[in-house]
Symmetry: C2
């Protein structure tokens, strides 16, 4: 059985609604929170149960697909050949725990390294940005319009707060050049700002499940995507990821090259 992207999109939107219900119900009782690498890198019972939910759904729908996922219920994937899913059950777990808001649940499907379809849901706002190359990009039922190709000085840039503070990826210079910068603490929420045209770009260093959905949707809209050196992303490893308007992308690459004396 092979689904069209449209059928697949409709199917996953139902999974997201179910996941959202489960997340909201789980928030009614105390969360079980544990630290992964440190106090800023958390995992909860909800991250785990939602990932398991998605893994089961995917394995039932596409038994031959490979799964790259945050909490370890996926596969050890060493190639982007064939169908590869990315799962981030709760993106922005610190916001989830501290704010009970401003977090996302995200999925993406790539085939032979190219995006097929992706989904980013702001769980509390009940907004989902979804689509892919053959479908276009939608916010709920509404098609997202083409972005304006603005440069850094003409728009807001979203960055990783931790990377900015530790002076990585020229983020202080880039933030200073932009009209303004924002820090939201969730890749999904940050990508939503860019896809909606509210920000001209987002820069952070992230794991594949953090960026695969946002990169898929951004590519579909014609935004530029690369690592901080301007090279294509290796979707199997952590990357310093730049997603922005083409104009801002050029400027970011120029700042990067100047600062590193290339």
């Amino acid at each position: 059985m092979s689904l069209t992207p449209k059928q697949l999109d409709a199917c996953v939107l139902v999974w997201l609604d179910e996941a959202r219900e489960q997340i909201l119900n789980a928030m009614q009782i105390p969360l079980q929170v544990s630290e992964k690498t440190n106090a800023r890198d958390l995992v909860t019972n909800v991250d785990r149960s939602i990932e398991q939910f998605y893994v089961q759904k995917i394995q039932h729908l596409m038994p031959n697909a490979h799964i790259i996922s945050e909490e370890g219920y996926g596969d050890h994937v060493e190639s982007m050949d064939g169908d590869v899913w990315f799962i981030d059950p709760i993106d922005g777990t610190l916001n989830f725990v501290e704010q009970r808001a401003e977090f996302a649940t995200m999925l993406a499907l790539y085939h032979d390294g190219e995006p097929v379809c992706a989904w980013i849901m702001d769980v509390i706002q009940n907004e989902v940005i979804h689509g892919g190359p053959t479908l276009g990009v939608f916010e709920n039922e509404q098609r997202l319009s083409k972005f304006e190709n603005r440069g850094l000085a003409a728009g807001l840039i979203v960055v990783s707060g931790a990377r900015l503070l530790s002076n990585q990826m020229c983020l202080p210079e880039i933030a200073q050049t932009a009209l303004g910068f924002r820090v939201y603490g969730s890749a999904g929420i940050s990508y939503m700002h860019v896809l909606q045209g509210r920000a001209i770009g987002y820069i952070s260093k992230m794991k594949p499940w953090d960026y695969a959905p946002g990169v898929a949707l951004a590519k579909t809209l014609g935004l530029s995507t690369s690592n901080i050196d301007g090279n294509a992303l290796n979707m199997l490893i952590s990357n310093s990821v730049v997603v922005s308007t083409p104009s801002a992308h050029e400027e970011i690459m120029r700042i990067e090259k100047q600062t590193n004396g290339v």
Copy 2:
């Protein structure tokens, strides 16, 4: 005629609903945007018309009150004696223009320098945090519960992006000590995060209309408020304002003193 705080609160909530309607209607047609001091300091036709709307309402309701306001339709106020209103018609004008979201409309009334009542409305979300010392603090109709007195390492701090980048008020050290930091680009939206218990504090350098409403509501909830030196705020001038849990406030003052070698 003298209104009780409860009557006043009910009255101003009606103004806010009217202001919100006007703002949403004005967003349907192109904004007239001008720069004040630079490209990051904007004013729109909506800032002006909403301020005039509030000034008229206040002058009708309390003709002897003084008004401190952002766009110049208020008074030249040189004392906090008697009734003093603060108006910020659109707080976060850059977000208003760029994002069409994440901005606030805010008011506060002080009497002889003490808060009487204040209002911060997230216009797009249609959420208003309001109240004062005799009423308590409410988010729409729901009373906000007492915050947990957490320290810096146990919570998120919201800061001014521009002040962080230019290394003011020890913001890099404070942000590094906190569990995480966020930048939202609107004082009103930032204060809402603190009042809701989603962040443990907010630090920025601001004009009186930017901080008077947030400080009034924070004081009512028992949060600590001061300038960055730990002194009481002079409500008639710009201040480096710290609003946080008492524990975080102590730590912020300690970092400030250590860094400045006091």
